[in-house]
């Protein structure tokens, strides 16, 4: 049985915006079947207390995953060294953008409601053209931006979304 209900917020609520600056965005192209050398490289970065701000990946070609890893610059450099110790050739192929800035926020049932991504892009206006990456997963939204863009972007989002007082 299905119950159809309508809940519509003309101004979508969020619990507030978090901004993190001075991050590094690492991009790696990984064979999707993780051959042994890549498995060993991934195993290396599992060691210690390595942390990420965001990881995301998608198939770029049938056999490759494009992995984005957002973390503190020191952490990213350390992870890169560990990966390149296993696969030296990766050093020539990976891309690093730093510094970058992150805005993330969440709201009630964002993942279950249509229109939240649309509302976000409309709120961003021209700033959408600056995005380096965007993730909408579960009830969270993560936007990665070049250095200096987060504050203006946050102002645009704050003007569009409602933060209950």
């Amino acid at each position: 049985m299905e119950t159809v209900a309508m809940y519509w917020e003309p101004q979508i609520k969020t619990y507030g915006f978090q901004v993190v600056k001075n991050l590094a965005l690492y991009k790696y192209r990984i064979p999707a079947d993780l051959p042994a050398r890549w498995e060993r490289a991934i195993e290396r970065i599992e060691e210690g207390q390595n942390r990420f701000q965001l990881v995301c990946a998608q198939l770029s070609e049938p056999s490759d995953l494009d992995l984005l890893l957002l973390c503190d610059p020191e952490q990213g450099a350390s992870l890169a060294r560990q990966i390149e110790a296993e696969i030296p050739a990766v050093a020539d192929r990976r891309q690093v953008i730093a510094p970058v800035e992150l805005i993330f926020f969440q709201g009630p049932h964002f993942g279950d409601r249509f229109g939240v991504a649309d509302f976000t892009y409309k709120a961003l206006k021209e700033q959408a053209g600056l995005l380096l990456a965007a993730v909408f997963a579960c009830a969270s939204i993560y936007l990665i931006l070049p250095e200096g863009a987060a504050d203006e972007t946050k102002n645009l989002l704050a003007a569009a979304f409602r933060i209950p007082g």
């Binding site: 049985m1 299905e2 159809v4 209900a5 309508m6 809940y7 519509w8 991009k27 999707a32 079947d33 993780l34 498995e39 991934i42 195993e43 970065i45 599992e46 060691e47 390595n50 942390r51 990420f52 701000q53 965001l54 990881v55 995301c56 990946a57 998608q58 198939l59 770029s60 995953l65 494009d66 984005l68 992870l79 891309q95 993330f104 969440q106 049932h109 993942g111 279950d112 409601r113 249509f114 229109g115 991504a117 649309d118 509302f119 976000t120 892009y121 409309k122 959408a128 053209g129 995005l131 380096l132 990456a133 965007a134 993730v135 909408f136 997963a137 579960c138 009830a139 969270s140 993560y142």
Partner: protein
């Protein structure tokens, strides 16, 4: 070695993966895609987009029941029609919390690869790590991750038994 603790594993219903790719960085591609779906009240429980100088690459998931109408909608949108590819029969496997841990990420990615379970996409959120996987093998993937991690209180992977979705339209196939 002690297993890493997690609190749970959640399995979604069946979804259709939509891949968007454009060789140029047209800033209107994603906004038009999202606007088109919103206009038809289609929810995306997962969307990940990566932008680079040479183009845009995105992966979004929609309830598989809406696949036919989704295809009609996107095919009718001139800006999108040449940039869309569909992969039906995917599902989301979400493990939580990820604790921002590279160890947890690496262990889960390697476990899925060792079991020959292809990953179409993945993304972290504030507390969870979500994999987009072949729906026909998602139970196996859940079992693989269950074996890799220690679930709190001996919890088992659980399927979403009901879905809260916003809208005024019935889900296709639910006519009662």
């Amino acid at each position: 070695m002690a297993k890493v603790n997690i609190k749970g594993l959640k399995i979604s219903g069946e979804l259709c993966l939509v891949r968007l790719r454009a060789a140029s960085r047209d800033s209107s591609l994603l906004p038009v895609f999202c606007s088109t779906l919103a206009g038809s009240q289609l929810n995306m429980p997962f969307l990940s987009a990566a932008y680079r100088a040479g183009g845009i690459q995105a992966a979004g998931c929609v309830d598989v029941a809406h696949q036919a109408s989704l295809k009609r909608l996107l095919d009718a949108e001139p800006l999108l029609q040449k940039h869309v590819e569909y992969i039906p029969g995917v599902g989301l496997l979400t493990l939580f919390p990820h604790q921002s841990s590279m160890k947890l990420f690496g262990l889960s990615l390697r476990a899925l690869a060792q079991a020959n379970l292809p990953v179409f996409a993945l993304a972290s959120s504030i507390g969870a790590l979500t994999y987009v996987l072949d729906y026909a093998r998602i139970e196996k993937a859940a079992a693989v991750l269950q074996a890799q991690f220690k679930l709190a209180g001996n919890h088992a992977p659980f399927r979403v038994e009901f879905v809260v979705s916003q809208g005024t339209q019935s889900r296709p196939g639910n006519s009662e």
